[in-house]
């Protein structure tokens, strides 16, 4: 009897998730009347605006990841090594982006960094791009920080640092050649998650008026029928890919650890 209910709950849950995925896949293939075809995908992939916005979002994601790593790895390392008393506060701050909705943060940006302010970032395209990247870095902060901090916990950073210092390494060398390789899997996990978040992000890009992939999808959704479903299928594949890569690298690490 208990098994019956257990299977029932599981099957209900599975149906809930499979039906929308089935629905969007089915819909994305129906652009040509009467037969299944990949027309919607061809139209989307051939759209120059798709190529432009998708490239833009990929570049933004990569920039966010580089900036995030440069910001988070040294900080998390330094706090663990020298300022352990600060950890609870930093942890609290990194969780704030989950509490404050993204729309509120970007609203603050628009008011704080407009053309008449002391730091007029929204005044130029480069400035707005930088601001958007900082915004993305803020959104990704909870995931990035927690991932890297967990990675640092599993290695003995004090000993590694002393060993490196006694061999004459400076701080840059220690960070780039000792710490980073040791937490690479954690950094990669954070990076893939950041990528998945940034690539389809809508609110910040739309309100800062940047030609990103999220606003493009929304625009297409308001005007077309079949192409949005194709975009949804591709986004889902992309999310699946990013999260799959996280699993892959962490399994790789487990394999490497048990091999040594």
């Amino acid at each position: 009897m208990r098994k019956f209910w257990a299977w029932g709950a599981l099957i209900f849950g599975m149906l809930y998730f499979i039906l929308p995925l089935l629905g969007m896949t089915n819909f994305s293939l129906k652009m040509r009347r009467g037969v299944y075809s990949l027309d919607a995908y061809a139209v989307v992939l051939g759209d120059p605006r798709f190529q432009a916005t998708f490239t833009y979002s990929i570049l933004m994601a990569l920039a966010t990841i580089v900036f995030g790593v440069l910001l988070v790895v040294p900080t998390a390392y330094w706090v663990r090594l020298k300022l352990p008393g600060l950890r609870p506060y930093i942890e609290f701050v990194t969780l704030l982006p989950l509490v404050i909705p993204a729309i509120v943060i970007v609203f603050g940006y628009i008011r704080l960094y407009n053309t008449s302010s002391w730091l007029p970032l929204t005044g130029s395209i480069t400035g707005t791009n930088i601001l958007l990247m900082f915004g993305y870095a803020t959104l990704a902060l909870p995931y990035m920080y927690r991932s890297v901090d967990t990675g640092l916990r599993s290695i003995d950073i004090a000993t590694l640092t002393e060993a490196a210092q006694s061999l004459g390494a400076g701080w840059t060398t220690i960070l780039a050649r000792i710490i980073l390789p040791n937490v690479l899997v954690a950094v990669l996990s954070g990076a893939f998650l950041t990528f998945a978040i940034v690539i389809g992000e809508f609110t910040m890009a739309a309100l800062l008026n940047r030609p990103a992939f999220g606003p493009y999808m929304q625009l297409l959704g308001a005007n077309r029928a079949y192409e949005p479903a194709a975009l949804a299928v591709m986004s889902f594949a992309l999310t699946w890919g990013c999260l799959g890569l996280i699993q892959l690298v962490s399994r790789f690490q487990k394999g490497a650890q048990s091999a040594t």
């Binding site: 208990r2 257990a6 299977w7 709950a9 209900f12 849950g13 998730f17 039906l19 929308p20 629905g23 969007m24 089915n26 819909f27 910001l71 988070v72 040294p74 900080t75 330094w78 300022l83 352990p84 008393g85 600060l86 930093i90 704030l96 989950l98 509490v99 404050i100 909705p101 993204a102 729309i103 509120v104 943060i105 970007v106 609203f107 603050g108 008011r111 704080l112 900082f134 998650l193 978040i197 389809g200 992000e201 809508f202 609110t203 739309a206 309100l207 999220g214 999808m217 929304q218 959704g221 308001a222 949005p228 479903a229 975009l231 949804a232 986004s235 889902f236 999310t239 699946w240 999260l243």
Partner: protein
């Protein structure tokens, strides 16, 4: 940040070395200050200011008009409904897998899939549900042509309260599964056995042992899911355009083009969002601390 001095046990060091330690955290502090704290503070302060900068409560008072209150009310209702249903369904699925005697191999794929699905939000999620439950969606068409059930005639519309709730559930349920599975794992065998030895029935074990232990995790996740749904903007906009007046959509329109006719009312609107998600998250953090006492 006053506990810093207690962090360094030998405080009688050379005094000039201390500031250098702090410099290491400076880039992070500056970034967080500039791009997280100050923007938020700007909104909070702006909510209590007149356009010329003096203090006022008029903006907050301005929130208490019918249209804005009803926007908050719909938002809160959708968030509560999707959080409650998400918790219940997620709990059923998780407990089915952990306690229901299902094959062990289901667990890994389920958790992986939950990780993906809880991140599959925003614009594409709206498209997926439009293609499934929209006017010409998979389920709508199937029910109509095969079973003769017309969802539209029954009053269902994807661009409505229930439409949005059902869509949000797609990321709410997996989030619940991800959070509650470790809590269910934490229910020790010994507790059940001890209860049985003392003569408890299965129902009594659940009511008097498992339920009180799980309750903080359950309520905490409820608060988290609530905040999660309350702040969601992209899914709502892609799904409904602006036909459903919920707070995030109203704020989005306000930032775009000052639809309320008063920029500082926008601050107040955003401030209200911070207050609601802030309360929900405080409850979450408080209850999580309580639940961790048992689940070590």
């Amino acid at each position: 940040m006053s506990s810093d001095s207690s962090a360094a046990p030998p405080p009688a060091r050379a005094p000039f070395r201390l500031p250098l330690h702090w410099l290491g955290a400076a880039p992070f502090a500056i970034f967080v200050l500039l791009f997280l704290i100050m923007p938020t503070m700007r909104i909070v302060v702006g909510a209590f200011q007149t356009p010329d900068g003096s203090f006022t409560l008029d903006n907050i008072r301005g929130l208490f008009t019918t249209s804005i209150l009803s926007a908050y009310w719909i938002s809160i209702k959708i968030s509560i409904a999707s959080a409650l249903l998400g918790c219940l369904i997620g709990f059923s699925v998780a407990s089915a897998v952990v306690l229901g005697g299902l094959p062990k191999w289901i667990r890994g794929p389920l958790l992986t899939f939950s990780g993906v699905a809880s991140n599959f939000a925003g614009v594409p999620l709206a498209f997926a549900f439009l293609a499934t439950l929209g006017p010409v969606g998979l389920i709508t068409v199937f029910l109509k042509s095969q079973l003769g059930i017309d969802l539209r005639a029954l009053g269902f519309n994807i661009l409505s309260f229930w439409g949005l709730t059902i869509t949000y559930l797609f990321f709410q349920i997996p989030l619940m599964i991800l959070i509650i599975t470790p809590a269910l794992d934490g229910l020790k065998r010994e507790w059940r056995e001890a209860a049985q030895i003392l003569g408890a029935t299965n129902a009594q074990y659940w009511r008097m042992v498992a339920f009180p232990i799980l309750l903080p995790s359950f309520l905490g996740t409820l608060a988290l899911l609530f905040a999660n749904a309350f702040g969601a903007v992209a899914t709502a906009i892609a799904l409904t355009g602006s036909s459903l007046s919920i707070v995030p959509i109203l704020l989005f329109a306000q930032i775009r083009g000052d639809v309320l006719g008063n920029p500082h009312l926008g601050y107040a609107l955003a401030f209200g969002m911070i207050v609601v998600t802030g309360i929900a998250n405080t409850i979450y953090i408080w209850l999580r601390a309580r639940s961790e006492r048992w689940l070590k």
